[in-house]
């Protein structure tokens, strides 16, 4: 806008007073009106943004800051060390092992989560009457609202090598009993079973919502066309469910990489010695906890957290990139 251009103005209607008289109109410049609108908008957003800033952005920024320092919780020997913490981590076999364990855990959990939750959702939607469906939906969702530690205690009992239900079932079908949480090979699968059992309810509900959004007419047209069930699922339901599947994969990836509570509750002793046996269940999150709160090395824990954040961020971006090409949004 040049100086010669007239200032654009807009009328502001003020509320009429009770006294009778001519209606009062005040004219203010448009830039002032825009400023007023912006202030109101930011003011309304402020409470939510403030919570985010105080409880997420400041701690995250502080974590990143600490990861570049040698940082003592009680001493004043804090000094800038650059990338030394990261170099130390990548030279530690245990840290690399924890990354591999986390990756293995995620790689098994994501497909298992998607397949099982989608399968259960399809069963609940197609295979049951309305009333029975409601009861089963509640039953499937119930574990998700039960505290992780409580369910972990149940599963520790189930996986007890001597008198647990899991070995009872195995031996009753003439399969060898397993060491479960005491075995290097079977401890992580045992944790996975508990995690799946606990988290599936949420993903089943998400898939049920996704299935409900697939128009019934499309399925009926396909039935009229003579398409077999698997063809209808593969060519119609699955593509239309892709946004839901993407959401489930994204949520499950983030939750799985951060898995901690169930591992801690199932494998940890009274002194925090989780992640065993022989580091078989030491995921990244478990190692971060132990480094920070057992060995009190906050700098290394912060560097690990930064790396974990970077991994989750990268995975999410890759998923987004794939979804832009594969996911069909109506």
């Amino acid at each position: 806008m040049t100086l010669l251009e007239p200032v654009r103005q807009r009328p502001i209607a003020l509320p009429q007073s009770d006294q009778s008289g001519p209606r009062v109109r005040r004219w203010i410049p448009s830039w002032m009106q825009r400023l007023h609108d912006s202030l109101v908008a930011y003011g309304l957003m402020l409470p939510a943004v403030a919570v985010f800033i105080v409880f997420f952005y400041i701690p995250a920024a502080y974590l990143l800051y600490i990861s570049f320092f040698h940082w003592g919780i009680l001493s004043s020997a804090t000094r800038f060390v650059g990338l030394a913490n990261f170099r130390t981590l990548f030279a530690q076999p245990l840290f690399l092992h924890s990354l591999v364990t986390s990756a293995y855990y995620t790689a098994v959990m994501i497909p298992a989560t998607v397949l099982l939750s989608l399968g259960i959702a399809l069963l609940l939607k197609e295979g049951l009457s309305k009333r029975r469906g409601a009861i089963w939906r509640g039953a499937v969702f119930l574990p998700h609202v039960t505290p992780v530690v409580a369910t972990a205690i149940i599963w520790v009992w189930i996986f007890n090598p001597q008198f647990g239900l899991a070995n009872f079932v195995l031996t009753s079908v003439h399969l060898p009993a397993l060491g479960w949480l005491g075995s290097v090979n079977w401890a992580l699968p045992a944790v996975m079973i508990d995690s799946l059992w606990h988290s599936l309810g949420l993903y089943v509900i998400i898939f049920l919502a996704g299935l409900a959004s697939v128009p019934r007419d499309l399925i009926e047209v396909a039935r009229l066309d003579g398409a077999p069930r698997h063809h209808i699922f593969r060519r119609i339901i699955w593509p239309l469910l892709s946004p839901t599947t993407f959401l489930v994969v994204l949520l499950a990836t983030v939750n799985t990489w951060q898995a901690f509570s169930q591992i801690f509750a199932m494998t940890g002793g009274p002194h925090g010695g989780a992640g065993g046996p022989a580091y078989a269940t030491t995921t990244d999150a478990v190692l971060i906890y132990q480094t920070a709160f057992i060995y009190f090395n906050f700098s290394l824990a912060a560097a690990m957290s930064t790396i974990l954040f970077g991994i989750i961020m990268t995975l999410s971006l890759i998923q987004k990139w794939i979804s832009d090409r594969v996911v069909f949004y109506r």
């Binding site: 009926e220 047209v221 069909f328």
Partner: protein, 378 residues
Amino acid sequence: MARVELKNATKQYGNGQAPAVSSADLVIDEGDFVVLLGPSGCGKSTTLRMIAGLEALTSGELWFDDRLVNGDPPDRRNVGMVFQNYALYPHMTVEQNLSFGLKAARTPKAEVRQRVAEIAHLLGLDTYLGRRPKELSGGQRQRVALGRALMRRPAVFLMDEPLSNLDANLREQMRIELARLHGQLGITTVYVTHDQNEALTLADRVVVMESGKIRQCGSPAEVYGQPADTFVAGFIGSPGMNLWTAGWDDDGKSVWLGGRAVCLPRSYLPVLEDLGPSITVGIRPEHLGLFRTGADVEVVCQVEVLEQLGSHTQLHAEVELAGEDRARLVARLDAAFAVHSGEKLVLTAPSGAVHLFDAESGRRVDVDQRSLAGALVR
């Protein structure tokens, strides 16, 4: 092409609930264009879905030619169906939508390509084959839905309110296109609508339904000219037929209905005596007029509202029946007549325009107009 027959077909969704379709008997001849017409919830879509195999019959029989198809799944009935909201696969192109059924049936690729080309040419979709449904207009989507239903050369073509999502102009165009298509292909067609214009212009036969029951099945001229009962009389026509239920009396010169509201010629006397002390009389709005020559039915009314509709004037009036009873009247008058609201008028109609119904059952009572004319002459 197939002949479709419903025998005592009933559909009930839950125990204790009123049936959605109740004891429907209907024969649809080979190549016929039959329209199921009725208000929302009358059971017309359920009937269509039973024919398609998307709903199982609770009782009764459904025959395609000489084959009982009650237990057959939809794909074994060889029907094509067009849904109200088109039901196109949104993630597929027009070509993929058209070819979906044939590919599912493992038809050779060359044949699929040939059929797609044929149908696309028939419906003018050649240039849109690579587009997805959201890139098409309403009319184009409708044509894709029609094309997809035609791909498998169905024996019966089912359409569930296929034009209801289109604007008025497009609806008219598509109506003509549907009529042309039926003339060209001659497939037995069952069409569901609540729009009587669509029904009367497209159908060989109209099936009027209400509360799950078939009220009348006949040609458009029959359901308009000889409605089977008061429901059909009131439903068909825009506006529907004027219906007045009242007692009658004879003053020696004429027969009067509802005190001195409606005057019928005395030739009606034998018929009215047969019907009892109370009857329902119906006259279509377009058959009422002012100063009509040869008119021998009179209706006394008081004008309430006048609607100027250009070619004609629609008059809404009140008819004063015996006692405190008031009845509504609608008449379609020539725009040239100067009528004012509040005015008391005597409207006339030829005696052939009068329909009589049993006051209790609402069923039509057929009156031999020739014998009436004879009586009049006598």
